[in-house]
Symmetry: C4
Subunit: 213 residues, 4 copies
Amino acid sequence: MNEQSPRWETGRVEAFSDGVFAIAITLLVLDISIEPEQYDHLLKALLKEWPSYFAYVTSFFTVGSVWIAHHDLFTRLRYIDPMLLRLNLLLLLAAAFLPFPTAVLSQAFEASTKSERAAVAFYGLTALAIELILRAMIRYASTRPELVEGEIPPLPKSERGWRATIGSAGYGLAIAFGTLLLPHVAAAFYLLIALRGVLVSGHEGRLSIRLSR
Amino acid sequence: MNEQSPRWETGRVEAFSDGVFAIAITLLVLDISIEPEQYDHLLKALLKEWPSYFAYVTSFFTVGSVWIAHHDLFTRLRYIDPMLLRLNLLLLLAAAFLPFPTAVLSQAFEASTKSERAAVAFYGLTALAIELILRAMIRYASTRPELVEGEIPPLPKSERGWRATIGSAGYGLAIAFGTLLLPHVAAAFYLLIALRGVLVSGHEGRLSIRLSR
Amino acid sequence: MNEQSPRWETGRVEAFSDGVFAIAITLLVLDISIEPEQYDHLLKALLKEWPSYFAYVTSFFTVGSVWIAHHDLFTRLRYIDPMLLRLNLLLLLAAAFLPFPTAVLSQAFEASTKSERAAVAFYGLTALAIELILRAMIRYASTRPELVEGEIPPLPKSERGWRATIGSAGYGLAIAFGTLLLPHVAAAFYLLIALRGVLVSGHEGRLSIRLSR
Amino acid sequence: MNEQSPRWETGRVEAFSDGVFAIAITLLVLDISIEPEQYDHLLKALLKEWPSYFAYVTSFFTVGSVWIAHHDLFTRLRYIDPMLLRLNLLLLLAAAFLPFPTAVLSQAFEASTKSERAAVAFYGLTALAIELILRAMIRYASTRPELVEGEIPPLPKSERGWRATIGSAGYGLAIAFGTLLLPHVAAAFYLLIALRGVLVSGHEGRLSIRLSR
């Protein structure tokens, strides 16, 4: 360990990050609205809003799976150093930006215009950026034993293997497929990647922790 | 207990959930506004906004009673496992969605159109979904003694009895009644269910905790 | 102490309340905006927004002083019982509502219409409600020694004296004066009451705590 | 130490401040939006939004660097006294206001009108106010040894030297330069100052902490 290198306890970084994730996830609902003139046929209008619901659920689970991975990472960490603090700020920058591509995606799908391809690519690039920054954080932390809590086992080998690249590769493929061929299929893929992120947590996924009694 | 099953301490899950509940509850006020042209008769305009105030108070206590029940549940828990983490994420997804049906409900009542029935059903279904996910969480946690704090008594039997179904049944009845007969009565019922959720807390309600000295 | 009476540790109630206060205080800025056509004379437009700045600062310090008093109260408490939990929820309901009267107040002052009196009364009544609920919480807690931390001194006598009524009486007078005579003076009074709440904290104000080494 | 002077533990002040910073940073994204008629040429519209992205990133890192400095300061503090509490509230008032100048800046740049100079000055003055309040807090805390944690070293001398004035002087110069000459250059300077605030943290910057094992 570099004697000069400063480091902090992780508590307040977690609290601040939790705040940003919680707000980003909750602001998503502000994008969903019914125009006054649609209230004459409200049921129809509510059903027509399906792209908004789809985008809401997708982004909710995208941020949710990032929160779980963030939570898993910080459970292992005892200290945070300046580089990790900056990577964390970059992660929050990208995650807090997601409500904008989410609104663009749902509006493009509602308008059914040719804008769908650009919207899908824009959303995918934002999600890919989040995924890559998260990977960089996990990779960086796994090379800094001085940050890790003594009693907690080191980061699993699998994190540096092929499993870790599934998310990133998935976004890359979906962006290419959605921009060139079928935007709707790409959007469905974004939801699947987010759901996988939530479901694998604690098993063999992003970062698992095993605390046997 | 499954030796392989991972679990986490509950602290950060509570903090994240608190953030989402607090934001969902606070965003509700953004739905209330006065149009510029109404400022000539402001007092009248403020009074005409009663459906917004009603919807604000109803959703505030609905989220508030969910927060109390969530708080009661997590006071008993020492660890959270992946399944409970996912159920918790589902609960937050539904709770963070509530500001949208709240806005729809108040706007439908202000417009006094035939849209009231659809709005009441939409709101009720969202509240029912929240209630059912909360029930599923409590039921799941009560079957996992390895998650419970050692010194805290197990979940009370009553939670698996008829009392637990009052909330869900209440929403079901109100939805049916409001859609077929009187929407305003159903909306008043939503407020009553939420108030009951707040008032029974700590007595014989959703989840009570008894810490005698 | 009633043996049956349940109670909780205060930690999570504080975290949830902090979240609501922080969001209510931060949402206030969303009320301030410049119309696109005003960008030709931006400096003039920025200056013309003074009622928005005034309302922002007033409500910021109003919520800020409530947060300080809330903080002072909970520093003394070790447990919270169901009644205090419900009063706390009522306080949050009123505090989270404040952004709406704030927007009404600034818009009424910008329009310079006859709506100012109604706006001043509406704002004052909300602030008075917040003050009264806060008083009720402090009064209730001061009669429940079983909730208080053992090592912390009991609530000071002055809290039950004339000092405690300054805030409430101030709002009452300002509402009457502003509705009948000069709305602008009443609005300035709201700011003064809020500033007093911030400035007296820790001295002889709402709730002071003295921890000498 | 003044025996009469009250003081509190810092925990809840940090939590409340974290909440305000997190929300201010996350609300910034609400300023970015695409008009419905722009969806016919979405890619072009997304690119045309560059001033919004620029303003988003600048304000994100501005608040982020303030949060880091705030975090550094409070890591050293064990107690907070009434004066520091008030300065902290002033800091939050200014930080929570930043989304408004951010929106004005990006809209002025998108409109490419003569409003750019006023927008740049308005943004710079807000950022300067934040910086000066932060300086005042650090300076005040450094003269109150009774607030500092026993085991933590005192505030470094450099904080009272020329390094501490870089941020303030930078904003002053950028405001003057941007108002009189080139607004775009001044805006770029705001981003650089914010990035510096993030990058120097933990090294020789605002407030560094060295915890060697």
